[in-house]
């Protein structure tokens, strides 16, 4: 799955570490929804930030979390940069690591 989108000031690029998957996220869209519409098989269940299924590790970049992650992710996960994709808006391009075999 490889998608190239024209870069525009209203969208950011996301790369999945260890694969050549890349997709763009329009401002105002969540990381999860953009991945899903780009055809990435991103695991999810609730889409409201309560189940933790969509978690991934943020390796590079800045995000704007829409909900407090600490109810779902524990302290060590948060320290390692884990985030909930369904509650993540972007503030820059990102490099994230996602276990797609989950």
């Amino acid at each position: 799955m490889f998608k190239i989108f024209k870069p525009s000031p209203t969208s950011y690029q996301v790369k999945l570490a260890g694969s050549n998957t890349e997709f763009s996220v329009q401002r105002g869209d969540s990381l999860l929804n953009s991945a899903l519409s780009a055809g990435v098989q991103w695991p999810f269940k609730c889409k409201v930030g309560s189940c933790g299924t969509c978690k991934c590790q943020l390796l590079e970049g800045k995000i704007n979390p829409q909900l407090d992650f600490s109810y779902v992710l524990d302290g060590s996960e948060i320290q390692q940069g884990y985030i909930l994709a369904c509650q993540t808006m972007l503030k820059s391009d990102l490099l994230v690591s996602l276990d797609l075999d989950k």
């Binding site: 609730c46 889409k47 409201v48 309560s50 829409q66 600490s70 109810y71």
Partner: protein, 373 residues
């Protein structure tokens, strides 16, 4: 089209303001909020068979204007505060025995002072319309950052700030299972549900905070405890009503909170009564009841489109659509009236549950259902 799609969700804001004016003008107008509920029930019942879909343009884009809809939802916070202040003002006049007479306010006639009977009308009107805070509190609980705080504050006006956390972390995750206090199991009536669901969600919210603070090595008794903080948000209302009318003020505020929370739990009751989900399996459309009669849809800002909402929880209300899930076929006002009479509701819902068992339920879900019959 854009205007129509956005303006149709203004029924509650407009009627809330009419209710506030009713309380302020006084006399029999204090009952206007109650009367509006009655009129709405009639309209909802008469139009129950009209079901519309969400509206999208040819590109598949929704006509809803996010900035406008969010502006209105945020604007409702001061409106609900104004409703409480208006009631407190009437309580103050009542306890101060202000003579009941017609006065002028910039040329507009209003009744200064209020009789006991009209004060009851003002309390009932305020309770019913404060209860509608839930439709904004609910939408904002899901949608984005600042909205979450506004949701907490709107709910705090009804002493129900715990709802925001319980709804997202408990109800959405445990829907249709006994771990979700907001799902009413078969056989439970709406009154029992209101109490059990309210207490269950508050307890859940407390446990959630306890767990989070423990993980951070903090004590539960802490202003960082958002369960405690939620109740502290309700303190200004309490202070206002104690100041306005002492014990009478407390009784009035208590009545408002009871009515408001009853409406909140009535929505939970109607949205999921008797539906069952095997824990751990995905939430699907069949785990909620849709109520999408036209008036219900517009009035309750599509909160009745539960089937779609529980699967696409991140979706703005104006984009929710009919997904052919279980549907009562009538609106919330009509269903609420039926649910007020438990024996009638049990009879009414029988055929709907039988239909659900037959058309929607999995074998595992049927096995759980069998325990209730």
């Amino acid at each position: 089209m854009k205007f129509y799609v956005n303006a149709r969700y203004l029924i509650v804001p407009i009627m809330s303001i009419i209710t506030i004016l009713g309380v302020l003008i006084g006399g029999a107008y204090a009952w206007v909020g109650v009367a509006l509920f009655g009129i709405n029930t009639v309209i909802d019942t008469l139009t129950k068979d009209i079901h519309l879909r969400a509206d999208f343009d040819s590109q598949g884009e929704s006509y809803g204007i996010k900035t406008f809809q969010y502006g209105i939802m945020y604007f409702m916070l001061p409106v609900f505060i104004a409703l409480q202040i208006a009631l407190a003002y009437r309580i103050f006049q009542f306890t101060a025995a202000t003579p009941v007479q017609i006065d002028l306010f910039y040329g507009i006639a209003y009744q200064s002072g209020i009789s006991g009977i009209n004060l009851i009308g003002a309390v009932l009107s305020s309770g019913l319309w404060a209860g509608l805070g839930i439709i904004y509190g609910h939408e904002l609980s899901h949608n984005k950052k600042e909205g979450f705080l506004v949701s907490r504050l709107v709910m705090a006006l009804s002493g129900a700030s715990h709802f925001t956390y319980a709804h997202v972390y408990n109800h959405h995750l445990d829907l249709g299972h006994e771990d979700d206090p907001a799902t009413a199991p078969r056989g439970r009536n709406m009154y029992a549900h209101a109490w059990l669901s309210h207490m269950g969600q508050s307890r859940y919210s407390y446990n959630l905070e306890e767990g989070r603070l423990k993980k951070q090595g903090k004590s539960t008794l802490n202003v960082d405890n958002r369960w405690i903080l939620g109740y502290l948000y309700s303190l200004p209302s309490l202070v206002l009503f104690v100041w306005a009318g002492g014990l009478i003020g407390i009784a009035a505020l208590f009545a408002v909170w009871v009515i408001a929370n009853f409406l909140l739990e009535a929505l939970n009751f109607m949205g999921h009564y008797g539906l069952i989900r095997t824990h751990g399996l995905p939430v699907e459309h069949r785990h909620s009841w849709d109520n999408d009669s036209v008036f219900t849809s517009w009035f309750f800002i599509e909160i009745g489109r539960q089937c779609d909402h529980h699967v696409r929880g991140e979706t703005y209300f104006w984009e929710l659509d009919d997904v052919k899930g279980p549907n009562y076929g009538i609106g919330y006002f009509s269903l609420f009236v039926i649910a007020l009479i438990p024996a009638l509701f049990r009879r009414y819902v029988e055929k709907h549950l039988a239909n659900w068992d037959e058309k929607y339920a999995t074998d595992d879900e049927l096995a759980i259902a069998a325990k209730f019959s």
